[in-house]
Structure formats: structure tokens, C-alpha cells
């Protein structure tokens, strides 16, 4: 075992340590706390790169380090960490994106008085997230997972003085808890079924052949084997964390937090943790008698026979992808658009894992992390520049005012839309669509994905048109930074914010080349194979057709967007949306996100309230009545008792006490506090005693 594996714990420990120190610092030590967090993150990045190198050297094998955490009776509960390609790739992504976002935050949070607290939370989040990544135990993963949820709660509610932020934080916490309940049940079941929570333990781990075979053999419910039920239960947790329908409602609200938080947690890393979890337990998802027989636990879609769990994942992902994309069209808040876009993309990833295996989903996760972080940071830059304005109707014309941001944002937007051949988003989305097109169960997910791609291009174009094209529509009096003149307040962001943008932009565009069909390095790295450069793989079976379809779709979306929004420009902030003007009813539905929140309010919440009221009634009348009867009887007895006690027992006792007190008073006169009186007493007693001895005791 190499040194880096043994010391892998240092990677999450460094940011956590930094968080601890920051928490102890005084409020005014802004530079120190930021420096600590960034330094810890840089250290984590360095170690992560070392881990990646080690993983590449090891060639796909999982290296683990396990230790006993608890012993109860004869049972051992082990924790540990694992280094395999999945871990390494995720580590580098999280720490690299995290580092850039940390640096960006220095500029973004510049004027906030709780600067130190912010970095403390951020560092704690980073540590917890890295802990999720390296865990070799579902239990350790769950702990870090919950810690991540906690920091997410803290950071969404960072500006807790805003009621909406506090509500959003609470909502996020509760909704993800619903998913985590499933996760926890799944974990329990897994432990009961396999006797271990370690993923890899030299053949004894729960993701390894022996345990999987046992789980597959066990019967679950609904006619599914235990493995499938466990996987679906765990997927509930992942769905909650990753904002899959129907648990997606918290994610758009989570945008109440500071923008770097949105970028880091609610776009790049934490929400992707659900996808990561699915990738991690992919062997469990894909566990079926047939698949275990072919011994292709982590193989590509071709060799994996779809299991019920994989189907659930696929369908949920596909529906989420389209559903969220549709909603995104009707939003006006720059960050909410991106949030729905994130939900949509997470659906893509889930779908990718379901139809094409872990590598496909993970590839989109990595590329998405970069360009979505870029988009969020760009949005943050825009918001920062406009003095806190988030409504895209009030923006416009920022292309000239914020050129660097514009350029970077454009790169991110094109990557998200998947501009053919150039950007990373194209290749990762293409891999998903290709896998979907070959899925043996149904082609509907492929169609849904295609529609999602069209919508993605459309709403992103709409957003670009609103924000960067045309003229500035910001009302007077807002965003005036004191320079006077016409909107001189809208300005380019400082270098500490734009430099991370540029770096992310480079990666957003370029990262796709590590996973093209011609040179599928990423996929083969994750699958433990060797990649070879074959240009003709591009022209492989169905490949070109899918690529062409996707290209056409994307270009169509871009063009449609330009047609509707860009060409004529947006006249004023009050002007109705171009689509909204045509179909107001539909558009209103979209703007309200299909009334899901209202639906929940009308059903789940009301049901809950009703149940609570019923419980209260039950409590008050049935149980309360019984209790009152009992208490009445008892207190009647008590009154009787008291009467006898006070008059008979106490009377006698009081008399006794009084006489004792009186005696004490009389006796205390002797205790005059005068030493010499005592001495005289002693002397007298001595004389009397001696006299008695001499004369009396004959």
C-alpha cells in the first residue's frame, strides 16, 4: 500500500482542520481565515493529484485502508477509505473546483461582515465532501453525507436574517431528509443482508462478488431481490440530494445562499454526490444473477442487463431532465434558471448511469461540474456587477460592460448546450444519448433526452439574450456604486473573481477531449482498461447518427432561442416574455414550476396538518379524558391524604419542632461565642470531675 493511500484521510482532514481553526478565530481575522481555507484546499488539491497519479499507476484496482471503529460483542464495525479511479477523479474535481470557488469567494464576499464564518463553513463543506468521496464504508459515507447536508443548510441560510433564506435552508434540509430516510433504511438492510458496510474489503466488501451474490439470492419485497430493493432505497437518498423529481423542490430555493455556495454545493459538488453515490454502488445497482455471472460488475452498458434498480434510475433521471428543462424556460431569476438547468443535467447523469454505466454518468458529472460552476460564478459576477440584482429582465447589454464575464459565460453556456464537436458538454451528453439510444428496454429515455437538449439550448439562449444583449434596463437608483453618471455602477468584477472564471472556462471547453468516442480515456480509466486512439470509433455503430441528431437538436435550440429573443431584443424590463405573450397560461405554469410546491402544499403539507390536528384531537379528548379521570381520582385521594397529613401528622410534628426550636434557643444562649466562657465551663467541669474522682468515687 502506498503512502498516499495510507494518508488519504489527510485530504478531508486538511479543510476540516482549517474550518476548526477558522471557527476559533476572532471575527476580524478575515485574511487569516480565508488564507487558511484556501491553503488547506490547495493542500488537498495537491494530495488529490498525487492520489490520481497513484490511481493511474494502479490501473483501476481499488486500494483500501480499513480500520476497526467499534466492536460490539463479536461483531466489528470497520471504517476505511478507498482509492480507485472513481475516487481519484472525483477528488481532483472537487478540490480543484473548490479551490477556484474559494478564491472567487474572496472577491464575492468581500464586503460581508461574516467573512470568516463563510470560509469556515465552506472549508467544513469541502472536508465533508472529500470525506464522502474517499469513504470505503457506507456508514462513513453516510456520516459525511449528513455533514454535507448540514453545511448545505448552514450555507443556504448564511444570510439567515433574510426570511426567505432561512425558509429555503429549512426546506432543503427537510426535503433531503426524506430521501435520506430511504438511504438509511437501505443501509440498514444492506448491513443486515451482507454483514458489512465496507465497499471493498479484499473480497468481503458489500460491493464484491460474494456479498452481491448473497444479496441477489435473498428475497426482497414486490418480487424484487434484496439487492434491488436496497439499491432503490439508497437511490432515494441520492434522489433527494441530487434533486430528482419529485424531491427537486429544494434545489431552486437553495439559490437564496451566496452565489459561490450555489456554484460549489448546489451545482458542482454536493448535488453531484447523489450521482457519485450511484456510481459508487453501481455494482449493487446492476446486481442480478445474469450480470454477476458475466462478471462485468462495472462494465459498459452493452454487457449489463438492465435490472429493475437501473430502470428506476433511468426513468427518474429522464423525466427529471425534461421536466426541469421545461420549467427553466419560464424563469426570470438568473440563478433559478441555472438551478433548474442543474436539476435537468443531474437527471441526465442519472439517466446516463442507468443506461450506460457509471463511467458515462460520471463523465457528464465532471464536465458539468466545470461548466455549471463556471455559469454560476459568471452569474455571480453579473449579480455582483449589478449590485445584487438577480432578475434577468432588468439586465441587458452587459456584453460591453463586463467583457471577461461575457466571454467566460458564453463558453459555459455553449458547453452546457453542447455545441457540436467543440465543447466538453457535447461529448459527455453525446455519450449519454448514445447509451440511451442503445438501451434495450425502451427508447423513450432517448427521446426525452433529445427534447431536454433542445430545451437546454433554448433557455440558455434566452438567458444570454436577456442578460448580455441589448441595452441595460437596470432602473435608476439600483446598483449605484456612487460614481454618478449613467449606470457607471455596473462594472467588471475584480481579477480575483474573473481569473477563476477564465480557468474554469478553459476546462469547460477543453475537458471533453478526455472522453470522446475516438479516445475514451476517461471511460476506460474508470473501467480499469486501456484507452486507444481510434478515429474510426467515431463512425462506429449508431455513433454518427446520434451525434448528428444531437448536433441538429442543439443548433435548433440555439436558433429558436435567437429567433424568439435575440433578434428583436428586449425592449424594457416590464415587457412580457416573448413566449409568455403567446401562451400566457402555459408560461405561467412554467413560471410556477408546474405548481409542484403548491401541489405539495395542498397535499402533503395539508395532509400532514390534518393528521396533526387529528392527533391533537385524539390526544385531547380520548387520552386526555382518560388521563383526567385518573388525575381526578388521584387528586381526590390526595386531598383526603393532605387533610389527614396536615391536621394529624403535621400538627404533632410541628408541636415537636417548636419545642425543639425553643430548646435550641435556650441552649444557644450558652453558645455566646465567647471563648472564655467555654474555657470557664471546661475549667469548672474539670474541677468537678477531679473532685468527684477524689472524693466522690470511693
Amino acid at each position: 500500500m502506498s503512502e498516499i493511500v495510507r494518508n488519504l484521510w489527510l485530504i478531508p482532514a486538511l479543510p476540516m482542520l482549517a474550518a476548526g481553526v477558522c471557527a476559533l478565530l476572532k471575527r476580524g481575522r478575515r485574511r487569516l481565515s480565508a488564507g487558511l481555507a484556501i491553503g488547506a484546499m490547495a493542500g488537498a488539491l495537491g494530495l488529490s493529484v498525487a492520489a490520481l497519479v497513484e490511481a493511474m499507476r494502479a490501473g483501476g484496482a481499488a486500494e483500501t485502508f480499513n480500520f476497526v471503529w467499534l466492536q460490539f460483542g463479536t461483531e466489528w464495525l470497520k471504517l476505511g477509505w478507498v482509492l480507485n479511479p472513481l475516487t481519484a477523479v472525483m477528488l481532483v474535481m472537487v478540490s480543484f473546483v473548490g479551490l477556484l470557488i474559494f478564491i472567487y469567494s474572496v472577491g464575492y464576499m468581500e464586503t460581508d461582515e461574516n467573512f470568516g464564518r463563510f470560509f469556515c463553513f465552506l472549508a467544513l463543506f469541502a472536508g465533508a465532501m472529500l470525506g464522502v468521496v474517499i469513504s470505503n464504508s457506507l456508514l462513513l459515507l453516510f456520516m459525511c453525507w449528513e455533514l454535507v447536508g448540514l453545511t448545505s443548510y448552514l450555507l443556504i441560510g448564511f444570510w439567515f436574517e433574510k426570511p426567505s433564506a432561512a425558509a429555503a435552508a429549512k426546506k432543503a434540509f427537510i426535503v433531503t431528509r426524506i430521501g435520506d430516510l430511504g438511504f438509511f433504511l437501505g443501509m440498514m438492510w444492506l448491513y443486515a443482508g451482507s454483514g458489512t458496510l465496507l465497499f471493498y474489503d479484499h473480497g468481503a466488501g458489500c460491493l464484491e462478488h460474494t456479498a452481491l451474490a448473497r444479496l441477489v439470492a435473498q428475497a426482497g419485497v414486490l418480487g424484487l431481490p434484496a439487492a434491488g430493493i436496497i439499491a432503490i432505497l439508497i437511490f432515494c437518498g441520492a434522489a433527494g440530494k441530487s434533486g430528482q423529481v419529485p424531491l427537486h423542490v429544494w434545489l431552486p430555493d437553495a439559490m437564496e445562499g451566496p452565489t459561490p455556495v450555489s456554484a460549489l454545493i448546489h451545482a458542482a459538488t454536493m448535488v453531484a454526490a447523489g450521482v457519485f453515490l450511484m456510481a459508487r454502488i453501481y455494482p449493487l445497482l446492476a446486481a442480478s444473477a445474469a450480470n454477476l455471472g458475466s462478471a462485468a460488475a462495472l462494465g459498459s452498458a452493452a454487457s449489463v442487463e438492465p435490472t429493475p434498480a437501473l430502470m428506476v434510475v433511468t426513468w427518474v433521471g429522464a423525466i427529471t431532465a425534461v421536466f426541469a428543462a421545461v420549467i427553466a424556460v419560464g424563469q426570470y431569476d438568473i440563478k433559478r434558471i441555472l438551478a433548474y438547468s442543474t436539476v435537468s443535467q443531474l437527471g441526465y447523469m442519472m439517466m446516463g448511469i442507468g443506461v450506460g454505466g457509471a463511467a458515462v454518468g460520471m463523465f457528464h458529472l465532471i464536465t458539468h461540474a466545470f461548466f455549471k460552476a463556471l455559469l454560476f460564478l459568471g452569474a455571480g459576477s453579473v449579480i455582483h456587477g449589478c449590485g445584487g440584482e438577480q432578475d434577468i429582465r432588468k439586465m441587458g447589454g452587459l456584453r460591453k460592460l463586463m467583457p471577461v464575464t461575457f466571454a467566460a459565460y458564453t463558453a459555459g453556456m455553449l458547453a452546457l448546450c453542447g455545441l457540436p464537436l467543440v465543447v466538453s458538454g457535447f461529448w459527455s451528453k453525446d455519450a449519454i444519448l448514445h447509451a440511451a439510444s442503445e438501451w434495450s428496454v425502451s427508447h423513450v429515455p432517448f427521446y426525452l433526452g433529445t427534447i431536454g437538449a433542445l430545451l437546454t439550448a433554448f433557455y440558455m439562449t434566452r438567458q444570454m439574450a436577456y442578460v448580455f444583449a441589448g441595452t441595460l434596463r437596470l432602473p435608476e437608483g439600483e446598483a449605484q456604486h456612487g460614481h454618478g453618471g449613467h449606470h457607471a455602477g455596473v462594472h467588471e468584477s475584480p481579477a480575483v473573481m474573473t481569473v477563476p472564471l477564465v480557468i474554469l472556462a478553459v476546462f469547460a471547453v477543453g475537458l471533453g477531449f478526455i472522453g470522446t468516442p475516438a479516445w475514451p480515456w476517461f471511460q476506460s480509466f474508470l473501467n480499469g482498461g486501456q484507452a486507444s486512439f481510434e478515429l474510426k470509433a467515431l463512425a462506429g455503430e449508431g455513433m454518427l447518427a446520434v451525434m448528428a441528431t444531437s448536433s441538429v437538436i442543439v443548433l435548433a435550440g440555439l436558433g429558436l432561442g435567437w429567433m424568439i429573443y435575440g433578434r428583436r431584443g428586449i425592449a424594457s424590463a416590464e415587457a412580457p416574455d416573448a413566449v409568455g405573450a403567446k401562451m400566457p397560461a402555459v408560461f405561467a405554469t412554467l413560471g410556477a414550476a408546474f405548481y409542484v410546491d403548491a401541489l405539495y402544499a395542498a397535499t402533503v403539507v395539508r395532509l400532514n396538518n390534518f393528521a396533526a390536528r387529528m392527533s391533537a384531537r385524539l390526544d385531547r379528548w380520548v387520552f386526555g379524558g382518560a388521563v383526567r379521570t385518573v388525575t381526578g381520582t388521584v387528586s381526590g385521594l390526595a386531598h383526603l391524604d393532605r387533610f389527614t397529613d396536615e391536621t394529624l401528622v403535621n400538627g404533632g410534628f410541628d408541636e415537636g419542632c417548636e419545642s425543639v426550636t425553643l430548646g435550641g434557643l435556650i441552649l444557644s444562649l450558652l453558645q455566646g461565642g465567647r471563648v472564655q466562657n467555654y474555657m470557664r465551663g471546661i475549667g469548672t467541669a474539670l474541677v468537678v470531675l477531679a473532685a468527684l474522682m477524689m472524693w466522690g468515687a470511693r
Partner: protein, 165 residues
């Protein structure tokens, strides 16, 4: 009864009675030293040279000076008796009763008829040898006691938190 004993007894008693009855505290202590010195002389007369000189060293040179210091530091004087609080008579009666009892016991016991045996040889050296052999444990304990008393007296007299002295 020899002349020497008579003189010493009278001097000692004078000192002791004066120490307990004089009005001024300093006078009391000075008279007390006279009493102590008389007792030391009595010890010497009883051939207890070491004890006598120790008595002189400890009481005249030590305790009396200490008492003087205490009196000066506390500016104390014998308080004037308030009416109704005088226990003068009571104390004296008790003390007299004690003396009468003791005297009676002495007279009755018959030890008084003993005559003085020949003076023991040696003195200081034997005491030293005895201290270092048979009485070594009491000696060590007394050393401990003295140390504790020293520290304790300093702590008590210094009081809490005062940096004087």
C-alpha cells in the same frame, strides 16, 4: 527548702502574677519574661541545664519577642470592662478551685516526700545521643511540626492576597 529555691520561686511567681494582672500589655510581657527566666533558673537548679538554656532561648528570646511584636502590630491594649460583662470573679474562682484540687492531690499522693537522688552525670551529650537514637521519631515529627507551624504562621499572618512582608 533552700534559700535559692525560695528566691527563685518568689521571683518566678512575682513575674507570673504580674504578667497576668498588670494593666499594660507590654508590662505584662516584660513581667512574663521575668517569670520565664525564673523558670529557666529553676530548671538549672534541677540540673536540667539543656532544658533551662533552651527555655531561655525559646521563651525569652523567641516567644516574648513574638508577643511583643504581636502587641505592637495590633495596637492592642486590655479593653475596658463594660458593665455587666465582668467575669473576673468567675475566672479567679475556677482557677483557685483548680489550685486547691491540685494542691490537695499533691499533698495526698505522697510523692512529695521523695528526696533528690544524686545528680545524674553528663548532660547535653546524653540528650543528643538520646535524641538521635531512641527519640529519633519524635524528633523528626517535631521537625515536621515546626516546619508546618512556620509555614502556617506565615500564611495565617500574611493573609490572603496581601503582598506585604
Amino acid at each position: 527548702m533552700t534559700i535559692g529555691f525560695l528566691i527563685l520561686a518568689i521571683v518566678t511567681m512575682a513575674g507570673v502574677v504580674a504578667a497576668m494582672s498588670m494593666r499594660h500589655l507590654i508590662h505584662c510581657v516584660l513581667a512574663l519574661t521575668l517569670g520565664f527566666a525564673g523558670l529557666a533558673m529553676l530548671y538549672l537548679q534541677l540540673e536540667a541545664q539543656f532544658v533551662g538554656l533552651t527555655q531561655l532561648l525559646v521563651y525569652v528570646g523567641g516567644v516574648a519577642i513574638l508577643a511583643v511584636f504581636a502587641i505592637m502590630t495590633t495596637h492592642s491594649s486590655e479593653p475596658v470592662a463594660r458593665p455587666g460583662t465582668s467575669y473576673w470573679l468567675g475566672g479567679c474562682v475556677v482557677a483557685t478551685a483548680v489550685f486547691i484540687l491540685l494542691a490537695h492531690a499533691i499533698e495526698k499522693s505522697g510523692v512529695g516526700a521523695r528526696t533528690m537522688p544524686a545528680a545524674p552525670v553528663g548532660g547535653v551529650k546524653e540528650i543528643g545521643v538520646a535524641l538521635m537514637s531512641g527519640y529519633i521519631l519524635p524528633l523528626e515529627i517535631v521537625g515536621l511540626l515546626l516546619t508546618a507551624a512556620l509555614v502556617g504562621a506565615v500564611v495565617v499572618a500574611t493573609g490572603e492576597g496581601s503582598g506585604k512582608r
